[in-house]
Amino acid sequence: MSSFRIDYGAEIEAAIGRLTPVIAEATEIADQFDARWLAVALIDEDPGIAEQIEELPGGDEILRLRDQLLAGLRSVMGTSAETAIAGARFQMVNDIVRAVTDTTQRRKRTRTDRIDGVLTNRVLGIPIFLAAMWVVFKITTDVAGAFLEWIDSTVSGPIDHLVRSLVGGVGLGGTWIESLVADGVVAGVGAILVFIPVLFSLYLALSFLEDSGYMARAAFVMDRVMSGVGLQGKSFLPMLVGFGCTVPAVYATRTLENERDRILTTLLVPFMSCGARLPVYVIMASVFFPEYAGLAVFGMYLLGIAVAMVIGFLLNRSLLPVTDPMPAIMEMPPYRLPTFRSIWFHTWTRTRAFLREAGSIIFVTTIVVWLLMAIPVGGSGSFGDTDVDESAFASVAGAIAPVLEPAGFGTWEAAGSLMSGFVAKEVIVSTMAQVYGTEEVEVGEDSAIVDSLAEVFTGLGAAVVDATTSIPGIIGIDPASDAAEETSSSLSAAIRNEFEESSGGHGALAALAFMVFILVYTPCMATVGAIRHEIGTRWMWSSVIGQTVLAWVMAVGVFQIGRSAGLG
């Protein structure tokens, strides 16, 4: 085999030329190593070689000269010597490969290239991404909606009745213990169950997109949009994580090198609607916009992105001036046909993980809310037997409620739900179930347990049928009916009545304003802690106060403008 010599470029070759004779003079070293090879290895800053040389006679002098040469190279070259050496080696390999291989096959566009040509096209990429996301949320609302109604009616009907019967059977009927078990524990479990169909549907649809390789392309497409508001290339990753949960998204901003980018991305991440807000959207949209529930939920996510972009744009031109965009290389996974096993695994793992972690928070908060609702403030009630309007919870929430009146939901029930949502968005649904569930209709007190169980299974069957028949509707085929049925459970009815009443007959507008408020205000206490930890107390307060004020302004704007325009 013939030997060859790589040309490392004028500057490095000159350095090698100065180092080689000094190595050759150190006989013990020259006996062990080829002088040029050793010179290249030392300039390449190979740590193992330097250690070996240091121990040999003449080694110190060689290393001193090496260090001088490296300092000179750094000032002359735009890049480090080791990068230049690696570049020269790759160049040589590349030249050999090009000389001995047929590259005509490489230039042919593969199937992945052709699909990417459409899905990541500069013009089509974003509409396709939006369409894909719309289908995801349509599946989530249509499929999960049927089960939500069943869970609510089952928990507030047969299960509540069964529990009250059992508590009454042991002589505790009518006591605070019955209230704790029925209004606290059962309501809490019901609130956890509500998340299952919503998140299961969402994770199912997203797992399909993810396993197919599309989500990586979506990240690529969205990166271009984000850079439009001065966000750097890698900012899109925390933003996407924010759709799952804001807390890890805030910590994910650590991957950004620039402090300005870290601060800006951290401030914008909370506007990405996290998974915990989804069940609230689904419930509100199912109650007030049953025909357009998917669109309403999808609209919330889009609104979150739009708000983030506007805020980013404004911050770019004020507190956080834009820096040059930092480009990035993205390695896309190949397209694959997802397998049922993989999708099921992802969906189940994520749903289970959510229930395990969020379940305890929801349950504890439910008990705390029950406790506050059981404590009488004024009035003539006693603990566990007080008019809920005269409870400690209603008193505290009632003090905030007037501020929310211009947004159309100035009731203690809505204010209380938002208050508990500050702890974690996961508990809004449970609080709503508790505060609105107090006006429940009596459900068959004399009916037998067997009848109750039959009612549960009949309801489940109906929900399965509803969910199944809703799937063709997602692609525009609706064999069952032209109009979606309105939800009619006791919780839905109570929410509808309260919002209609508080808004003076503009319930749908008030509901929309409520959803907007939930989208924009501070996600949760854990997020506040994460923001403080990452960018400091001053920015944390800016984020909390700014988001809450913005949420109020937007909610009031939606309600007042909508009412003036005769909507809702």
Partner: protein
């Protein structure tokens, strides 16, 4: 100019993200070869990769605090199978 210099130059000239397949085509190398080159540039500190420090358990759930909806790599719906991203390291 070496092939590694061309990668850096192409990246500097770009104003947004670039797919590794597009970059490989532009500089006339195969994608697997480009991956190796990117790995070297990342090891030398010229590029910073998302794969080593990205949002999974290492960053998101390192014991400092953890979200409830997304509790780590297994549970976060947007964390798995995102593209590995490399950005140019800017000297501060």
């Amino acid at each position: 100019m070496t092939v590694l210099d061309r990668i850096v130059d192409e990246l500097r000239a770009e104003r947004g993200p670039i797919r590794s397949s597009d970059l490989a085509r532009r500089i006339g190398v195969s994608e697997p070869a480009l991956e190796g080159m990117i790995g070297v540039l990342a090891a030398k500190g010229v590029l910073s990769g998302s794969s080593d420090s990205m949002p999974g358990e290492a960053v998101a759930c390192s014991g400092l605090a953890c979200g409830t909806t997304c509790i780590g790599l297994d549970a976060c719906p947007f964390i798995v199978n995102l593209p590995t991203t490399y950005g140019l390291v800017v000297e501060q």
